[in-house]
Every structure is written in C-alpha cells, then in structure tokens.
Amino acid sequence: MCLTAVLVLSCNTLPVGYDQVRDRVPGTADTTLLSDTAASYVRYTPLGGSSLLYLGKDSSYVSRIAIKFSILDTMNLDSITSFQLVLHQPDTSRKMRFFCRPCSSDWSESGVSWEMVDSLDHWLTSGGSFFPETVAADTMAGDSAMFDFRYAEFDSAVRTAIRDWGIGIFPQDTGIVSLYAGTGTNAATAPRLRVTYIVKGKQTTRIINDAADASLIDTVATNSQPYDLLVGSGVAFRTWLSFNIDSIPPEATIARADLRFKPSTKYRRTDTIALGASRLTEPFIPKGATARFESLPSAVASYIVPADSDTAVTIDIRSMVQSWVNHPDTLWTNHPAPDPLRPSDTLRNNGLILTASPEWSALFRLRIPRSGPDAPRLYIQYVLPPEDRFR
C-alpha cells in the first residue's frame, strides 16, 4: 500500500511548488479583435473521394453522380447477358427515382465537378457530358437496390463508353438522398456492378467494384445578398477573414484564440454542421478565390443548429494565431529577398478561410454577419515569456 501511494505521488502533476516560480510569470492578457477585412466566394469544388454521394434536386441544389468501374479491357462485352448496378444508402427511409446515362468523355475523380472534368478542362456542358441514351431507370429505396441496365440494346460505342468513362446518375424526384461511395466505406456498401456473361458456353457472374465516383453539385438559388459572408458544402461557399494582430507581442504564447460568431442558417440537411478554419498561404488580395490555403484545416468545430438560433460557433484557432504571432511582418521587411533569413511567404498572416469540413459533407449553407454583435470576433488570451532567474 505504501509503495502504491509512493507511485501515485510520483506520477501526479499537482501544482506543488509552482508558487516558487510564479513571480517570474507575467500575467495573462486578453484582447478581442474584429476582422479588418472579410470576403466570401463560391466555387465548384471536386467532390470525388468522398464517403457519400448526393443525388437529387430541390429549390437550392441539384446533384448528379458520376461513377466509373474497373471493367477489364479483356472482357468480351458482347458476351454479357446481364448488367446490374448495386447501390446502398444510409437513410433507408428515403426514396429517389433516377435514370442513368453513359458518360461521353473521360473524367478524373480528383478534379471532377459540375463544371470541370479534371483540374484543367471543362465539360462540354455544365453538369457533365453524357450520351442521350438512358441505360437504366429505377427507384432507390430501402438500404440497397439492384438495377438492370438495358445492356443488350446498346451499340458497341455506348458499351465502350460505359466501360471507359462510366455512367451518370440523374435524379427525377425532388429531394436529395445520399448514397455510399466507394471511398471511406466498406466494400459491401460501395457501388458496384454485377455482370453476368457467357464464357465457353457457361454463364458466369462477376462483381466489379467502382473505380471512381463523385457528386456533381450545382446551386440553383443562394437566397443571399451579394455581400453576404457564406459558408457551405457541396458547392463550396467560403469566407475569408483577416485579423490584424500587430498589437500582440511576437514573443507572446497564445493560451487561447477562439474565433466566435453567430451564423444564420440558410440551408441545411443535418442538425450538426462541421466548419473548418484553414490558414491562407497566399494573400487573398489580389488572388481572390484562387488564393491557396492549407488543404487540411487548422481547426474544426461542430455547430449544432439550435432551435432558438442563439448558439455561437466557436473555433479554436490557437495554433494558427501562434504561427502568425511568431512570424510578424517585420521578418519580411527586415529581410528583403534574397536574404536567407527571410521566411517563406507562405508563413505570413494572410488571414484564414472558413469552409465546410469536409466540403462534401451533408449540404448546408450558413450566413455570417459582417457587422454587429454576431459578427466574427477573435478572442485572444496570451502570456508573455517568463522572466529571468536573476533580475
């Protein structure tokens, strides 16, 4: 028992003896900053690689799905007798009628969006380029469904298009359903083809998993004013905020940096909304919507849409503010290029971008007030370095 007590005493982190150094610790200081500049923009972002696909349309959004399958070139398409698409959805109560068309051009999962086939090229028409032939039409209901393609009716060009470029799935009903994608889910719920064909006179069934998938989402109406600050998913609404932190000494340690605001909900399909704050690595002005930011957000916060809309969003951006404080503008003005002591320009305080986290999460759109008590505020608490041992 004595040994146990000793072990407990030797492992704890109680503040015994802290008063002996407390006269060397400056007190904490608090400051509250309003954003000195702010802007918002909307972009079609690639939504490939997400774990959910969205299919549907309503008064605000329309969403299609593009899927490609890894069908081997060696497979004799003429021998196929049955071509079935298998899809799963997480919300088994939802129904959605849809139809499928073959893609008429290739696309890349990492770059495809409503406007783009990849990071460089546009679709011939917004929302994707597809052949006019409908290869399947059915209703998604329950947890999973299997849909038959009218494969025997297709000519070889359509069959080759399906094999090489995949298919597009178009909604027919109002409402939006989510489907499991091939990424981030188990193989049992991923989209796949069930192909039956004849080999040496014998009927064989083969399962072909999807090779790429993506939602193609457009916004129909934003229901917002031109100067609104918006954050949203699907079609990415992003808000840029900049704070002047020159009043904080560069040697300060940031103990707390909370970005807080009260948004109003313009659109949502879920009660819990995830927001991320990412550090800009390029100046927003003049780059605007093309200004780069860190791909992984520095901080993420969940916002539960309240019934009384009295809840504020609070995002802990302490690490971001600490980085800004560590790299004041004087480091660049005192060390002009090509001075080797000049830090990388990506470390400058270019502000932050508020985004949905991730941007393929369940569709939502929030409006952030530009001014007034609900506008973004940065609450900072910082501590100066300790005093010397001898003074």
Binding site: L9, S10, L14, G17, D19, T28, P250, P385, P386, R389
Partner: protein, 423 residues
C-alpha cells in the same frame, strides 16, 4: 551484573543497527519508486537563487550530518595520506513536496563527486576533484490558466560545478594546511512548456544560463588520535553569467550578461574520540551572503540573499574494526527565501532539519563502500522569525527529502582501516 550490562549494550547496538538499516531500506524503497517517474528534481525550491547548496559528495561525511570542514572539501584535511586514494560518489534523491493539501514526489540519481588525492615527497599532497556546488534541478506544474485547458510545466536542469585542484602540506603528521584553485562552471536549462490535458506540448520557452568563475580556498586541520579540528575559508566567488532566451523555439532574445558576486564562506568542525570505538563531531558552516550582488549593464543590485549557517552534530561507533555505524543531525537555513506568493507578503525562510545515518562495507584488496541515508525536512513556515504551524499556513511549501549516497573509496594498498578524516 557485568554480563547484563554487556547484553544491554549489545541490545542497544542491535536496535541501533536495525533502525539504521530500516532507514536505509526505506530510503532505498522511496528512491526506487521515485525513479520510476519521469519527473526529476532535487528540490521544489531549486527554481530560486542559485539553487540548493549541494552537500559534500562523501557518504561517510553525509552519515555524520555533513561537517564539511572534515571532508575533502577542506584542502587542508590530508594529514596522514600515505597512499593514492580516490572517492567516487553516486547520489540518489527523492523529494516529497506538500502544499495546499497536494503532494508530489520527484526523484533523481546522478554522480555526485569524484575526488583523488596522492602523496608527494616532502609530506606534500596533490589532490583534485569535481564537485557540484549548486543544484538547479526542479520540476513544477502550474494551475490551469483561467478559461483554458493549458498548464505550464516548468522543468529546470543543471547546476554549478567546481573543478578543483590543490596542494597540501602535512606537518608533524598531525597538522595539514592546503590551498586549492577552483574553476567554477556550469549551466542550467529551463523549459517552460505549455501542455494540454493529453500531455501534448503546444509551445516551449527556453531559458539557458551559463556560469563561469574562478576562486580559491584555503584550509587546515589538526588531527590526533583523540581530537581533531578543521576549518576552511573561501573568499568571495564571482560568477560571470550569460543568459539566452528562446521563445517558442523561433525567436531568439538578445543575450544578457550578469556578474554575480557571492561573499565569502567558511566552515569549522571538531571531532573527538574519547574512547576506542566511539567518536563525536560537530560542524558549522557559515554563509554570510546578505550582501550578494548582481551587476547587469553596469547597474548593481542586491540579490536579497540571507546570512545563514548550517550546523551539524554526529557520532560514529565501530561495532568492530570493519563495521562502523554513523548517525547525525543537521539544521540549516537556506541562503534564499521561498516565494512570497505563498503568503501574499514578504519572503519566508526555508529551514531544513535532517537526520543522517551511515555505515561502511570493507572491500578486500580495494577499499570500502560508504553508504549514507538522509531524511531532510524543509519548510517555509517561518514568517518574520516566528514559526507558523503548517495548518495555519497551508500554502507554505514543505518538503520531505530522502537521499541515498554511495561512495566507493579506493586505497592503493588495502589495509585494515585506521581511517582518518578526509580519506
């Protein structure tokens, strides 16, 4: 009747031995447990001043409560040195601190001292050694900052050491005088970390301090079979101090330079051995450091240290010629006070009381292994000279320190030990 007295005497010796062994075992258990912790420190008070004055690195002297004038810290202690000898000492320490009803234990183990002495012609002796003068190891956690989950974790490591070399001259095989040159050097590194609840470190401020200086010391002793008297004197010690500060590992603060001046110190000790097997000793070391100063950028100011002393009494009993047991008591006030934050006003003195025990194990063809165990109680419950009970001042920091010291003493020719002071 005579048989009864002998039996009583043996019973008392056995009881004394059991007590000593018990204290040693307890200290050993506490130390082993404390070393399992990643934290390490000598004292929670070490964050202030130059740190704790490190005791003489000899287990034999530590078992007698540390009369330093009778140790090899006295350059004039080598009266009858007739063979090369050296001492290597390892120190293990554990500290249990209590404050505001909280308790926390720290521990460390490290080499403490290395001393070598050899006889030269004309009854002169050459000696050298490395000793720690001040320890600056500490490890404390803060309370949580208001409205945040972050805490400060301050870890200090380092100390000030003396590289010693000196000459001594023995006279009439009873008197010795000596002088030594000390090159004092050392450094400390304090990491002030912000840690999250899951032990992640969010940022670190680092303060590094280097010390360098030179001093000398003179001492002498008279040693006879029955009575010994020893003393040494060390004049003012000037330390050149250089401080670096790094904030978040990114920003380098300008280097600062200080000059610290510690006034002189001196120590006296006496030992008597009235009967063949038992001896007594007493020691007094005085640190009149009230006038210690720091000079920075041409401005000199006081460091706020105190005039303090350390006193000790001890006894050594030879159960037989190869098995001595030692016991002692010491009392001292530290040269700097504890933080005034505990009370909100003034600075409280740090008082230390210690109980010391020790013994030796002879090693054939080599020398001996000296062992000491110490239990020290330090508190800062004195306010303006008046003792305040801990229950009336829960903010006063109290420490219970256990030290286990092992000294391996080598003699060039192993003999039946008729040991004298200092070697």
């Amino acid at each position: 009747m005579k048989t009864l007295q002998i039996s009583d005497c043996r019973l008392q010796i056995t009881s004394c031995l059991r007590s000593s062994v018990g204290i040693l075992l307890s200290a050993f258990c506490i130390l082993i447990s404390a070393f399992s912790s990643s934290a390490s420190a000598q004292s929670f008070f070490n964050s202030r001043g130059l740190g704790e004055i490190t005791p003489a690195g000899e287990a034999r002297i530590a078992g007698l409560a540390g009369p330093s004038a009778l140790s090899t810290l006295n350059p004039g202690i080598f009266v009858g040195l007739d063979q090369t000898s050296f001492h290597v000492t390892v120190l293990g320490a554990a500290v249990l601190g209590t404050q505001y009803g909280n308790s926390r234990m720290l521990g460390e183990v490290r080499p403490a001292a290395l001393n070598v002495a050899t006889p030269l012609p004309f009854a002169t002796r050459l000696f050298a050694g490395i000793n720690q003068r001040f320890s600056q190891d500490f490890n404390v956690w803060s309370d949580s900052l208001a409205d945040t989950a972050y805490r400060r974790h301050i870890v200090g490591r380092g100390g000030i050491y003396a590289l010693r070399v000196g000459l001594a001259k023995s006279l009439f095989n009873k008197v010795c005088v000596g002088a030594e040159f000390d090159h004092v050097m050392g450094g400390s590194r304090e990491n002030w970390q912000f840690e999250t609840e899951n032990s992640g470190v969010t940022s670190t401020d680092t303060i590094e301090v280097d010390y360098v200086g030179n001093t000398f010391k003179v001492g002498g002793s008279f040693q006879s079979r029955v009575f010994s008297l020893a003393a040494y004197y060390e004049p003012a010690l000037g330390l050149n101090v250089r401080r670096y500060k790094r904030v978040h590992g990114v920003i380098t603060d300008t280097t600062r330079y200080y000059d610290i001046s510690l006034p002189q110190s001196y120590s006296v000790a006496a030992a008597v051995k009235p009967r063949g097997r038992i001896g007594f000793n007493a020691g007094l070391t005085v640190y009149p450091w009230q006038d210690a100063t720091i000079t920075s950028e041409g401005s000199r100011s006081g460091l706020g240290y105190r005039n303090v002393w350390r006193g000790s009494i001890g006894a050594e009993y030879d159960i037989d010629s190869l098995h001595p047991v030692r016991i002692g008591y010491s009392r001292q006030t530290w040269y700097y006070g504890s933080s005034y934050y505990a009370r909100g006003q003034g600075s409280d003195a740090i008082n230390e009381n210690g109980i010391h025990v020790g013994t030796s194990v002879q090693i054939r063809q080599f020398g001996s292994l000296d062992i000491s165990g110490e239990l020290l109680i330090r508190d800062s419950h004195i306010y303006e000279g008046v003792a305040v009970p801990p229950e009336d001042n829960p903010g006063g920091l109290r420490e219970y320190a256990g030290r286990l010291m092992l000294t391996l003493s080598y003699s060039e020719a192993w003999l039946k030990r008729t040991r004298r002071w200092g070697y």
